[in-house]
Symmetry: C2
Subunit: 192 residues, 2 copies
DNA sequence: AGATTAATGGCACTCAGCGCCAAATGTCAA
DNA sequence: TTGACATTTGGCGCTGAGTGCCATTAATCT
């Protein structure tokens, strides 16, 4: 490769930041701390991540592409929202090796106020993937009611499952998703 | 009242800020601008609102109490999630005089990235109200699956309706909520 | 008039984030 | 081996949100 070689990597920054966040808290960790831990200038951190909030989201953009793929691979005769549900389950499947790390990461993201707020931006991208899929399947406009609702409700399911998952240490994420989905079914039936 | 009289009010700050946000954009408006418009020190603004993000949310805390009341006034034999749905509709009923203002406010909140992010914090409080109500009705713990899911899904419905409402200028917010709710029903039925 | 009470607002600070640009550090061609 | 070139680094200085501190101001009460 030509030019001056990079002094660090996204992964290295993420690891260092993760460690500091866990030990000193998110707010208690300045970008200066992270930069020093990595052995790089503060200015450089910003070249790798647009903001302190984004560090923990790592490769989320790649994941989104994978999510879209997963959805589009669902059998064409499967009911839309079931496809969405299964897509969400697939999207949140992690190997035993990384699941612990994923849990800690999500605990930070879902329980740190600043990160909670920032997540809304990421969730939006995630919802768009569902919207697009549902709109495509039902041959509707992406901004019409059903696709938008599917996106929001899909997110609602995922977040509910994550909260339950983080709150206890028994069931797997997949189990929690199923329980939540079933719960929604009950709620809807209860309406009649 | 004893002591030095206040130099301004929450309402005055809100009006001034709202005007500036509409004209110069949220990011383009500094707290210094708002302070000058109100004729007060920047430091004082922070005594009335904890952050720039919070100004537009005004009396939200009071609204929450009203929301909780509305829910608890629902007939005891009404199915839980229908009660939640009706509570949301009631909560979002506004007089013809204030509806235009409410629309502009929500457009700002839902379309400005910084505010979108910050809203997550407020939504959380709002969800808690639903959680509490549902938990109470079903005699479950507030943090168990059904109440949490009801909170998230309730929010999903409200946000979907607001997006539709802001996107077109025909139907009322109440109509949009009904369409969204019906849409969710379709999605769920489609699963079978 | 003087004591008391409560709000104001200035000052100095920290930290996130950005624009700018010179310096550093590699590769490649002659 | 040397010099041109490409690319990243990181320092500097700035803006703007938000906080702690505290003297000042402006009311009321005795």
């Amino acid at each position: 490769m030509i030019g001056r070689p990079p002094a660090t990597t996204h992964a290295e920054i993420e690891v260092a930041a993760f460690d500091l966040f866990a030990r000193r808290g998110f707010a208690g960790t300045t970008l200066e701390h992270i930069a020093q831990a990595v052995g790089v200038g503060k200015r450089t951190i910003f070249r790798y991540y647009p903001s302190k909030n984004d560090i923990l989201w790592g490769q989320f953009d790649d994941s989104l592409a994978r999510f879209a793929e997963t959805l589009h691979e669902m059998p064409a005769d499967m009911p839309v929202f079931e496809a969405v549900y299964r897509g969400i389950v697939d999207f949140n499947r992690f190997d035993g090796q990384v699941i612990d790390h994923h849990r800690e990461r999500m605990a930070l993201i879902l329980r740190t106020p600043e990160l909670q707020a920032h997540s809304a931006i990421r969730y939006q991208q995630w919802r768009r993937v569902i919207e697009e899929f549902v709109a495509d399947r039902l041959d509707q406009n992406q901004s019409s009611v059903i696709p938008v609702t599917a996106g929001h409700v899909g997110l609602a399911l995922a977040l509910s499952a994550y909260e339950s998952w983080l709150g206890s240490d028994g069931p797997s994420l997949e189990d929690e998703l199923e329980r939540v989905f079933e719960g929604l079914g009950q709620l809807m039936v209860l309406r009649e």
